[in-house]
Symmetry: C3
Subunit: 404 residues, 3 copies
């Protein structure tokens, strides 16, 4: 009977992590629809194909290179070996963590939309999901974490705590997008003679659909980050909820009922809470999400109008800056003084968050400058004007309508 | 090892209820798309923002006020206290039951679409989700249930049985919508010189998407109402299925292939079965759903054409009347004579269902009359004509297209 | 305590299979959107109503006739009997397997789109889901499997292995669609004076949504085919992932960035891996999916241009031929020599796959010829020209727009 309890436990762990993986896999449909709704009609098909291709390439490179880098485990053994161990738990863990790695190109995709070449963008995604993301992951969560985390603990009082990836996933993605967007330059007509000219988005229902899919899947992203059934925590679930809700309400006020801000505000809240969702009090989570949402609303406007960075979906403020806020906020609202479970150090949280910024900016500029040199990163002007759909995919999103 | 089995059981309960919560949370995207597809294009954005805002406000008020009212438990303690108890089971239970409470404004939203002011509508939703729904919930399921249920048992032979909320959730929502719709009055142009003029809906694919999302999430709504893994019941799942299918097929015939009736018929079936899904025989469930669907098809026509009530999505017949039918039907088809598990009283079911009608009508008229007096409930004529999207959100659903 | 462990195990099994059922039920929304996106606007409503009606009729006939044929178990007993057994496990198993049976009409629907009469098509689906699919199912998985599988084992070295239905579900569906499409003939204007004239599809975002929903649900289709929690296998999950990814990438190259091929390529990979997902190595799964995708891309072109078969969604190459490939591939890549778990016979796999082809073609031609004779299978020319939406459902997909 002891055997049986153990078997049930292993089965439970595999099911738990599988459900998380499926939910985060589904989030990639959310990335796709969020982008599809936010670009012009002539680039909708491209958004779909990019997200699905990036996902697929990420799977291959993370399977072959990334997961071995992060966790020192590879799958070049026979299937019997894999299956023999706890019903394939390690495989499901790969699947779950791949879903995180594949967020990197999906996040960047929204920033560089409507004017990037297809294959160079896929290649950059492959480098990030296969190499640079796993290297950082290995330092925080993976096989090399003893070193860096030990250093943090020794010098700043606690390891860097990032329960579900505010920093490791979202801020890395968002801060990698910034160099990509800068190297690429703004879309044709976005800034004319120094004046910002808003380019209208195409489809708010698709944007909202994307946001909903992401928000629903996020409960897998955060809760299943425990990686074992016995680690399941209602606190993580409710903190995710409260942060999302804080994000919506603060964006509703600050963004004056704007549907784009409201639906992205939900995501800002969720991004902000990932890091500390296991130790903040729900009311703290509400504030962490709400502040994250304000950072997004004002950061987006500042980025677009003052800095003149044509970040189509605002992924740098959303995933980048809000991700960094989330990492830092875990060190504030996670403290026992503010109702949290404690055990975190504000300085360690700040240091870890900043380290990710520097790491992403450096690797991002190196990779995108090389790509820019080697193959070119930007579509030709006529192709951009015609739209990525016709230029790259020889079809547009509504073929029947366009033949009328 | 005993400890370990207990830990596994608690983890299983938390996971079980969390999955239910996530599925019912996702249903709110379904409410949004169902409404978006059923209103005119000029009110689609408003539908999305309403549903998400109502959800967010409901979360806050149910967390602070509603859940304490219903179950006598509050979360104004430190996170360590919350986490210490069974891995946050109580928090997940709050999340799950919030999803039910938040259905109230989501249901009403579909009835008052296209002409209500934004903030007054949000306030009404907050009052219902935070106070009046929890008061009723506490009587049937919550901390005050001993009193009323004891009275039912003593006088009518059995407590009022509402397994998953045909009455507590759906009929309360639908019967609250009726006063809201009456206070608000019909949309401009809906009834001209006493004649009914149908206002065309905008988008059947979005309506269908909403219906599908609701139907899928409903299995979490019903099955996870057991609130513990060991209470999981295949009967509840299959009864939900059979009632939905009965709803579709009866609507297909009675509604003469109309896609709106077919997709709402599925929902009618699901609403009708909630109350008795744990004790009716699957063939009984098919009939309960089918009859619910007929009530909706003919009730909707009667409401719109004879009573001249401009209930845009037909939420009063759908959630209100069919919900009452579901509560009553549990007392008919739940009896052992009709293949059910028994233990229910027809009179108690009827009495509980009627009580909900009265409670909702009274609280609804009071709240909406006050709102009507204090702030006004209806958009100005020009704003209604221009559409809630431009009037309230300064954007419409397809910005690129509308700039062409 | 032994009792308690057993209870937890049963609960876990019911939850496990229920989650699978819900995920595969959701796939039917995917079938709907895939078809809606791939037909012309004038047939979108019809696609939605067909899928939901087929689902509902399938539920009834599989409950009353199909499941008893396949597994020798019926539900004409009282609810107490059903509930008494392991918390309704048998009922949930019915639900899960119904989701498979209902794929048959959903698959066919995509092939015969835009020109079939409504009720004759529903009737054919009922015959397949209620009788002919269950008969085949009973031979491979069900109560009569001892006979045929024993024969395979005795003569070809191993039983026919179809873990999650590449053959039993997909190839049966796809090869049944072929006679339906042939009996029906091509859409008006599809082939003019012997020349193929492409009919443009309407909506790539809906096609992509359908593909995403199907892909996400597929993890329930494959993983939950274990039918018990302790049978959960990370290998099945990751093989599904790898095959899907192989399908996407091979279609991306072979289909030259075409969004239709990329999104259907994901499905081709998933169809191909069902049979052997529990015993192939992940790298083998990548190839099985990739080859499946190539079969689809080139098979679709060959079917449409050379054979002049107007199979609107390409369901014959997709589900039919790729399904047969999947059954056969399990006998190749499942062998230990190629890193698989072994225990399969190539000849048995080939024989079982061919048997399904013959079975489906024969039953398909018989049923569709009879329907053609008895009631007619094809819409009148004017009705086809006007579109199935207006002809059958008296409404089109965007009523507001069409009234402008």
């Amino acid at each position: 009977m002891e055997v049986s309890l153990l078997a049930l436990r292993h089965s439970g762990d595999v099911l738990f992590l599988l459900l998380g993986a499926v939910m985060v896999f589904a989030m990639h449909a959310g990335f796709a629809f969020l982008e599809v709704g936010s670009v012009r009609e002539k680039n909708q098909v491209n958004a779909f194909v990019k997200i699905l291709s990036d996902w697929s390439v990420s799977t291959v490179v993370y399977f072959l290179i990334g997961y071995p880098i992060s966790y020192g485990i590879n799958f070049f053994t026979s299937a019997s070996g894999l299956l023999g161990q706890n019903q394939g738990y390690e495989l499901v863990r790969f699947f779950f963590l791949l879903c995180f790695a594949a967020c990197i190109p999906a996040i960047i995709s929204g920033g560089i939309a409507e004017r990037a070449k297809f294959w160079p963008q896929v290649c950059a995604g492959a480098i990030f999901a296969g190499i640079s993301y796993p290297l950082f992951e290995s330092l925080i969560w993976g096989q090399n974490s003893a070193g860096l985390q030990g250093f943090f603990k020794a010098t700043l009082g606690a390891p860097f705590h990032d329960f579900a990836g505010s920093v490791v996933v979202h801020s890395i993605g968002g801060w990698l997008a910034l160099p990509a967007i800068v190297v690429l330059g703004p879309r044709l007509g976005r800034y004319v003679r120094g004046r910002s000219q808003a380019i209208p988005i195409s489809n708010i229902p698709f944007l909202a659909l994307g946001s909903w899919i992401l928000a629903v899947g996020w409960f897998g992203f955060n809760v299943m980050s425990a990686q074992s059934l016995e680690g399941v925590s209602g606190l993580v679930a409710v903190n995710s909820l409260m942060a999302m809700v804080g994000g919506v309400l603060f964006a509703l006020i600050a963004g004056r009922n704007d549907p784009g801000f409201v639906h992205n505000g939900a995501l800002a809240g969720l991004i902000a809470i990932c890091a500390g969702s296991d130790l903040i009090h729900p009311i703290g989570a509400f504030l962490v999400g709400g502040i994250g949402s304000l950072i997004f609303v004002f950061g987006f406007k500042y980025e677009q109008e003052k800095l003149r960075i044509d970040d189509v979906l605002g992924v740098w403020p959303l995933h980048g800056v809000v991700g960094s806020w989330g990492g830092t906020a875990a060190g504030i609202f996670g403290s026992q003084a503010l109702g949290g479970l404690g055990g975190v150090s504000f300085l360690a949280q700040l240091a870890g968050s900043l380290l990710a910024v520097v790491y992403a900016l450096v690797t991002g500029f190196v990779v995108y400058r090389i790509i820019h040199r080697v193959s070119g990163f930007r579509l030709d002007e006529e192709k951009e004007f015609a739209g990525a759909d016709l230029s790259i995919h020889q079809i547009n999103a509504y073929p029947e309508e366009n033949l009328k």
